[in-house]
Amino acid sequence: MYQKIVTKGSTDYCYLKIRLDFGKDHDAIIDALNFKQLILSAAKDVFGIAVSCSLIDVLRYEKSSRTAVIRIYHKYLTKLWSSLTMYGNINGAPCAFRILQVSSHLMALANNSRSMKLHMVYDG
């Protein structure tokens, strides 16, 4: 009746939560398709077509905060992460990809206790 399975090796997929930040004076509205294109061009610039043609799924994209949850293969994690870090500007506007969370479990990206905001009730 009781069954237990432990997976210790590298799992197939890896999930990242990323955000695109612009410099002070610049701001742009980017939709989901553009966002995916930016990720692909970042990967292509540094590592070439191989990484940009691998699996990159945008599972969720929020236009207002330019935050996305993406899914990639585990073996391309370091390559994609480094290529996103190196990506510096879009058409002359300085920008930066911020990697907020990384995990091999998608469930982990639902909550980030480090960026938890405390709502306090102030008593009189």
Partner: protein
């Protein structure tokens, strides 16, 4: 081919709530530091009000600049550590770079210290086992011990050493053993010591899904090969995660995302995922799960799931040392079925020790 360090480990267990060992209680009650609890209900449009009230009624506090030797004073130990179940965790400290302090409901003061702080502290501890080449030291002091009282050499030494250390901000939640005592007495205690203590409100987020595909899950079948009458356990976990994150519906558009609901699946008119964030006491989690089991049977839902996220910066994950490599996961998910069976997923970081 170079061996890749795993970024995460998954432990899957399938058993029943009615089992003698009651492993589910062991899992819930030893996971002391919970930062959020989320519930997914398929074929249902709202979470029962009682559960929401349970979360709002919970008393949790944010205390600023607590000197550590206050935690070893007799009136604190007798009044709170021994008279109830106290959960405290330091706020704003990262487990991989700073010192973290926590108090477990069993009355253990756990400190995860950097090398420099440990060498200046003077208390005996061991090297953290969460990962290789991590220079963090774990010091544990048993506050509930019989031998820990003023007058003993050990007590005086601990008091002196803790007074040399810096002050920390804490998130606190306390449930007294005696039902007549109000949990807000801990707030009064801190106020008498002129320490800022404010009550915390729980944050709530909702994801609603309409006309949504949900997988068909058979509690008896975990892995399927050819004749897929139900989904694999790992696909189900990924899908639950996708619902928790609030996945966008891109069905049909392959460019953005090739992810889809695992097959076989069926359509449900309404589904809801609600998440509460704050600091949640393990006994409240236990009450929550018990209520939800009954609710699921009453409303005849095919299954329901509860996910609890632990603090990324807690010094312990279950009973083992916790570390942060590129993530600090210590999550567990109960996927419950009406026949009292459940699937338990425990997800931890790559360097942590399997419970």
């Amino acid at each position: 081919m170079k061996r890749v360090v795993p970024t995460g480990k998954l432990i899957f267990e399938r058993t029943s709530f009615l089992n003698e060992n009651e492993k589910h209680l062991q899992c819930i009650l030893t996971h002391s530091f919970n930062s959020s609890i989320g519930v997914f209900l398929p074929e249902h449009d709202c979470v029962p009000r009682i559960l929401g009230d349970m979360m709002d009624d919970q008393m949790s506090y944010y205390v600023e600049q607590v000197p550590l030797n206050l935690l070893t004073e007799t009136d604190f130990i007798k009044g709170f550590v021994q008279a109830g179940s106290l959960c405290m965790i330091s706020y704003g400290t990262c487990i991989d770079s700073d010192d973290c302090v926590a108090v477990t409901p069993e009355g253990m003061l756990v400190m995860s210290l950097c090398k420099d702080t440990y060498q200046r502290c003077g208390l005996d501890g061991h090297l953290s086992k969460a990962g290789k080449n991590i220079e963090k030291f774990v010091v544990k002091v048993d506050l509930k011990s019989d031998k820990f009282y003023p007058g003993t050499k050990y007590y005086d030494r601990v008091q002196w050493c803790l007074s040399q250390m810096a002050n920390f901000d804490f998130l606190v939640t306390w449930i007294p053993n005696d039902g007549k005592v109000c949990p807000s007495s801990i707030q009064n205690f801190f106020k008498t010591k002129s320490i800022q203590c404010n009550r915390l409100k729980v944050n709530k987020t909702n994801h609603e899904f309409k006309n949504f595909n949900i997988p068909i899950i058979d509690p008896a079948v975990i892995e399927t090969d050819s004749e897929q009458k139900s989904c694999n356990y790992d696909e189900v976990f990924e899908w639950l995660g996708a619902c928790a994150v609030g996945i966008d519906d891109y069905e049909g558009d392959d460019y953005l995302s090739t992810y889809s609901c695992p097959t076989p699946n069926k359509q449900a008119s309404y589904c809801i995922y609600t998440q509460y964030e704050g600091i949640i006491h393990p006994s409240i989690v236990k009450q929550y799960i018990n209520y939800l089991r009954q609710f699921m049977k009453d409303k005849k839902l095919p299954w329901s799931s509860v996910t609890v996220h632990g603090f990324v910066d807690s010094p312990l994950s279950w009973i083992y040392d916790h570390g942060f490599h590129n993530n600090g996961d210590n999550i567990y998910t109960f996927l419950m079925f009406p026949n009292d069976e459940y699937w338990l997923y425990r997800a931890i970081g790559g360097q942590d020790i399997c419970p």
